[in-house]
Subunit: 407 residues, 2 copies
């Protein structure tokens, strides 16, 4: 008999203490008892990962990334063992696995590895024996059996990869909020839960700072059409489905507004306007495994130009170090940075067929006296960099302007 397979991922807050672990075990078993095959992906308990990182920082401020992975991957191993014990205690069968044991093979980029292959033979075997399979999220091994981790939010990636390989009916992402909202409800009181959005929109929302889902995992889910369901581990209510675009969605002009205060702006000053200068800058950054978000280069009228870009704030030190040499090589004047920025964005598939969204956005910000410092756009989103102190105000006014509130 073919059973409908579900992959469920529980984040750190869902397994924050023993009581919560037992609740998760109950939920898993209830799905198993409904006739599903269940594969569970778990993150580290509560703040374990941060605690381990802070332990390392007492020894060195620049730990080897290989050793850091060795250290922090223990967090998820603890979770899976405890969750398996809880399932046993409640009378069902379960077995836990590390990433290495179920063959989650990654490249060798420690602390931000990418999954290159999943050998799910062992999982299928255990499902075949009627067991609930519990897999440590966030981790894998490279081909030399070196332990790697997948970067912040990496457990989402584990869940999506397993859902794809196992051809799961749905990949449920359990978290401490009950879905994806039109804006962060902690800031915008009027924010509304979305019943359904497209991968593309979620991708923009995720990478723009809606902290519900890791962006990369949405990308992969989209690529392989893995249906995602973001929902709360503390209630049984339906959350937000993330699926392929459906025609009904297009009526909505803007789906959400996001705010990201974790970026920093870097400007390389007085870059000689010669072919190859930009390639030098961004080539170096790519080699350093740093993700760039926005890039702005003005037209040069003097033979020199400023090149500005934004990176995640925690990549700033590394970026500045890399830029030091580049500045010398290309004959630029220097590098300056600015951490006091926020990025506010509006996202919606509807933008594709409607113009005027950008104008409406800029006008709305101007009406509140919020200055725009950088702009970037994609087919379905517009982002503006503003002063950090104005970020929340910007988010609120845009949420209102585009009529996203509950009422």
């Amino acid at each position: 008999m073919l059973k409908k397979l579900i992959v469920q991922k529980y984040g750190g807050t869902s397994v924050g203490n023993i009581e919560k672990i037992i609740n998760v075990a109950k939920r898993i078993i209830s799905y198993k008892n409904k006739g599903h095959d269940v594969v569970v992906v778990v993150s580290a308990l509560g703040d374990t990962t941060d605690d381990l990182i802070s332990l390392a920082s007492k020894i060195t401020r620049t730990p080897s990334e290989r050793e850091l992975d060795m250290l922090i991957s223990t967090g998820e191993q603890v979770s899976v063992a405890l969750l398996a014990m809880a399932v046993h205690k409640l009378g069902s069968e379960a077995i836990s696995f590390t990433g290495a044991q179920v063959g989650i093979i990654t490249d060798s980029s420690h602390t931000k590895a990418r999954i290159i292959d999943v050998n799910a033979r062992r999982i299928r075997q255990e499902l075949g024996k009627g067991k609930i399979v519990i897999v440590a999220g966030f981790q894998g091994v490279n081909i030399d059996q070196e332990i790697t981790t997948l970067g912040r939010g990496g457990s989402d990636m584990t869940a999506v990869a397993l859902a794809k390989v196992l051809e799961a009916e749905v990949c449920e992402i359990y978290t401490d909020v009950d879905g994806v909202y039109t804006a962060d409800p902690r800031i915008v009181k009027d924010a509304k839960k979305l019943d359904r959005i497209s991968y593309e929109e979620m991708l923009e929302l995720a990478s723009l700072g809606a902290q519900v889902l890791q962006a990369r995992s949405v990308e992969v889910a989209s690529k392989f059409s893995v249906p995602l369901h973001v929902r709360s581990s503390f209630s049984k209510r339906r959350g937000t489905f993330i699926t392929k675009e459906v025609s009904a969605m297009e009526e909505v002009l803007v789906s959400g507004v996001t705010l990201n205060k974790d970026e920093a702006k870097v400007t390389v000053c007085d870059v000689p306007d010669r072919p190859g200068a930009a390639a030098r800058i961004f080539g170096t950054i790519a080699k350093g495994d740093i993700n760039i978000d926005m890039i702005i280069q003005n037209i040069s009228r003097t033979g020199y130009t400023d090149v500005s870009f934004t990176v995640m704030a925690n990549d700033l030190t590394k970026t500045l170090r890399l830029m030091k040499d580049v500045v010398k090589n290309i004959g630029a004047k220097g590098v300056i940075f600015d951490k006091d920025i926020a990025k506010v964005s509006v996202v919606g598939i509807g933008m594709r067929s409607h113009s005027g969204i950008a104008a409406k956005m800029f006008k709305s910000l101007a009406s509140k006296n919020i200055n725009i410092e950088m702009i970037s756009t994609s087919e379905i989103k517009i982002s503006c960099i503003v002063r950090k102190g104005k970020g929340e105000k910007a988010m609120k006014v845009l949420h209102q302007t585009f009529g996203l509130g509950r009422k």
Copy 2:
């Protein structure tokens, strides 16, 4: 150039906090700088293992042993990563490994697995690159890549196994005491540090409750003639060497006195005196992977006899459960147990060639009004079971009787 290879094992108290980890790193590097190849085996930090077990016990009192191994093996993984970071910080090269990564292959007896093979290829590779190799103690994998642990004191076993395979010059066991004593110095104030003892004596001392070294690892060290050096991680003083018997040792009649309060006595009552009854009892216990220490069966004059034996106190519940069926099968009357016992023993190679030690021991105990409840002997030790409350008194009087004190 062939370098002299040293294996060093650091116990949990030696790496109890960040400061101690850095001190261990300094010590390791000092050996490396003297020209040695250094392989380090580390236990979990301080009380980590007990903390993890207590976490599990909040979920279930009878965790699956497989999942328990999954859980507690994380302790050593944390240690090796932190120690490698500390070595890096101090400017030397090091790399950490889990048991699985360096091919410590065990059988499948979870929580008390035995090493069946060590594939040290990876370690040799890294030593060849000039690195200090740091290996997680206490853990391995079976042939299906299931994580196993080696039982209490298992890091000693890891160290001895690696020392054997790598043909180390010496296996240094670092701990919080500065060697092996004639008796537990916390109880017998006058106890003396031994400069050198034989494997056989250490084996008796270790299995009798001198908690410095795991008995099984001494056995293996003896089998393969791996020289052991038990010493303090907090000083540079010479500790106790454990080697093959040398003639000078024979002059010493008794090397030490030990006390073990962690055993319980089990008595199967009114066992029909038929062939196969004892085999039934002890066969069942062996299958349950429980170690028996002393066994006493009186001569039967009624057709029925009592069979008594001692087991580790933490195996008592399991033992009693197993005995329930056996009692029915062999037609015995029932099972009783007694946890209020202590075992006091004297150990020494000299006993082989001298009679009268036992008589002297019994007389000495009688002089202090200490009743002997069970006796067992080997070539080089005599053990007596006494009431738990009399254990320390017995140890002290025997230490004195055999002239083991410093003066």
